[in-house]
Symmetry: C2
Subunit: 397 residues, 2 copies
């Protein structure tokens, strides 16, 4: 069963990794890892699918994919059928590493470090020291560069199969949201609602798209700040809002959607709540209308941020959107402000095939925060909504 897994996505991504090299003026991409069951380079899932035990080198050049792995891993790596050349070793990897690099003689070798993007920063300090040690007295020691751009293109440009898996994750999320809508009522605790979500997730055989402690986030009433705190005993009340931030992982790909509910009739929605809701909904739509291939991350964030400020609200304290894929936060270009903690990621360019979230909150005076989140796919013309955008507050009567 497990051994017969297909590695079609990994094969396609590994080939994409070779194809993108030329574009980035890179001669070889080196993924340099060990004991990945304990700490895995985030790119490994993308172009390998599984774990490597001893020190291992995956080398991608324009015309060849090479894996140098411990002898116990050889059979498993060959069976995947992703790599053209699989070379086992027993006592130490150094000799084969130098030999294979010498054979390809790459002038520019990209390795996985990045100050700004965790998804491109899979190389540990110790493994980097080891690489320098193994390659000292060879010409390769001075040929390294960051693979950040390369990995961002690779992760960001979803293949058709990747998009199809994300669509399914989103579909499941929306189906669960519909079940939750029928389930919720006044007087339930956040914890009871959280547990219902998890019951549904079990039925669909999906896992949390992020830390299970706060997936879904369930925020009832005016006093709870949205964010990364989990559900508590706080109860839903008539006339109050209820907020969810929820995503599932299905066949390794994620969704990430926020929804807002109101306990009462449409006619009872307070004006300030309605105004806040429309501001968030329309701010997201404004960003979606504007986004297109070639747009720079911070420019897209600015559209929504300016919209919010123009509407008289305080600006949201996070980025407008992040990429979505194998990870809920999939790295690469961020639709965010140029703040210190976001580094260069808001300077990245939006590309066809990217999947982004669009999300933000505003704060009302008496009813707490109002927040929504949609998922979009970048197309040649602009974008397509993958989630069905929430148009009105969902009223629970």
């Amino acid at each position: 069963m497990v051994i017969k897994m297909s590695y079609e996505i990994e094969k396609a991504k590994a080939q994409q990794a070779c194809d993108i090299l030329k574009e980035q003026d890179i001669d070889a991409w080196l993924v340099w890892v060990r004991e990945t069951s304990q700490m895995a380079d985030p790119v490994l899932d993308l172009i390998f699918g599984g774990d490597l035990t001893w020190q291992s080198a995956l080398i991608f050049t324009e015309d060849e994919k090479i894996a140098i792995v411990g002898n116990f891993d050889e059979a498993g790596v060959k069976a995947k059928g992703i790599y053209d050349t699989v070379i086992p070793y027993t006592a130490g990897i150094r000799e084969e590493l130098v030999k294979q690099l010498s054979r390809k003689d790459p002038k520019r070798i990209a390795i996985n470090y990045s100050v700004d993007d965790v998804a491109a920063d899979g190389l540990s300090v110790g493994m980097h020291m080891l690489l320098q040690e193994y390659l000292k007295n060879t010409p390769f020691a001075t040929r390294f560069m960051s693979a950040e751009n390369h990995i961002q293109k690779l992760r960001g440009r979803k293949t058709a199969e990747e998009v199809s898996r994300i669509r399914r994750a989103i579909e499941i999320t929306e189906e669960i949201y519909e079940k939750v809508r029928k389930f919720v009522k006044v007087g339930l605790s956040e914890m009871e609602i959280y547990n219902f979500f998890h019951k549904c997730m079990k039925e669909y055989e999906v896992s949390s798209a992020w830390d299970v402690d706060h997936c879904p986030a369930v925020d009832a009433g005016p006093y709870k700040q949205f964010g990364h705190a989990g559900p508590i005993d706080n109860e839903t009340k008539q006339g109050h809002l209820l907020h969810f931030d929820f995503g599932v992982k299905h066949k390794a790909y994620c969704s990430d959607i926020q929804r807002m509910l109101f306990f009462g009739d449409e006619k009872d929605i307070p004006a300030e709540v309605q105004d806040a809701f429309e501001t968030v909904r329309d701010g997201i739509q404004a960003a979606a209308d504007w986004i297109r291939p070639g747009a720079v991350g911070y420019e897209v964030d600015n559209i929504a941020r300016d919209f919010v400020k123009a509407a008289g609200y305080e600006e949201y304290q996070h980025a407008l959107g992040h990429q979505l894929g194998r990870l809920a936060h999939d790295g690469g270009t961020l639709l965010g402000p140029k703040w210190e903690r976001y580094g260069d990621s808001p300077m990245g360019v939006v590309e066809v095939g990217n999947v982004f979230t669009l999300e933000f909150y505003v704060t009302t005076e008496h009813y707490g925060q109002v927040s929504l989140e949609e998922d979009i796919l970048i197309t040649r013309q602009g974008c397509e909504f993958l989630s069905k955008p929430q148009k009105d507050l969902i009223c629970i009567k």
Copy 2:
């Protein structure tokens, strides 16, 4: 449910982290991470339990545990009750990081990098660059050292609760082995047996201690090299051996045990198989009799390796034993030979409270490999077997 998790183990380990500092002549231990749902420093589970989103600093000094975290993580971190001081930030962590370091003014600051031990090598190259950048023009930039020894002591010295969880994981493993013994018969494929293990694991609500592809490893007959290849369609046959390498993770702690079965009567066991089995069994016992606090890793490996060679077999191509804990390969001192790929880890010293595996194989001429693995706890006097050592080949009639 989830939010009410108890963090007693993490609290005890965090306190232990403070207590060990003095012994190592370290003034502060800095765990410096971000977006840990995507790539987590392996120590984080030990002293935090959960994920951190933005750049975060966990600082341990002799008298204080400080967490500087993104504002959305603040409530969750406070709720754990592990950290004395929890400081949130919004735009950037730099200011608070410098402020807190200045307040404690540590002269020697340990950070998580290690050439030889993946479990102590959780700092990424990009995060290291960022740390250097944030601390340039402060005295702290030049005060860093490796936390390798610190982390190895911390991981290696199991608390009573940790040992108790490992015992339970081992107990479950042995119960499943007993069910498997009753299930196996001639003519089953490795895959069918693998699936039965997983059925049992589901009943016990445990997960694989390592990559599910080869946990358990199921190796039937003389032609399959033991190692990291998964089960295949290969079938069990009368007069053949069957080998398992299996471990479970229960409440975050692992077991790791190998067992050998023979299809036939005791009297039909071929002499060369019996001799191989006794060599492995007695080699493990010899190492267990010899091991004690203060022993050096490679010395213990030598005991078994010499035993095997004296018995006329080729030596095993791996280490005699690794530590066991939250990870099946828990890092720290390795009971292994001084080979390049093991780096310094066989030079480490065995300590009270360490949990090790003892495992090796020998190769017979006609029946393939014979391999066993037991789990032991280091005591003041020597060691205690946590698994019930296999004394005889398990005969399936």
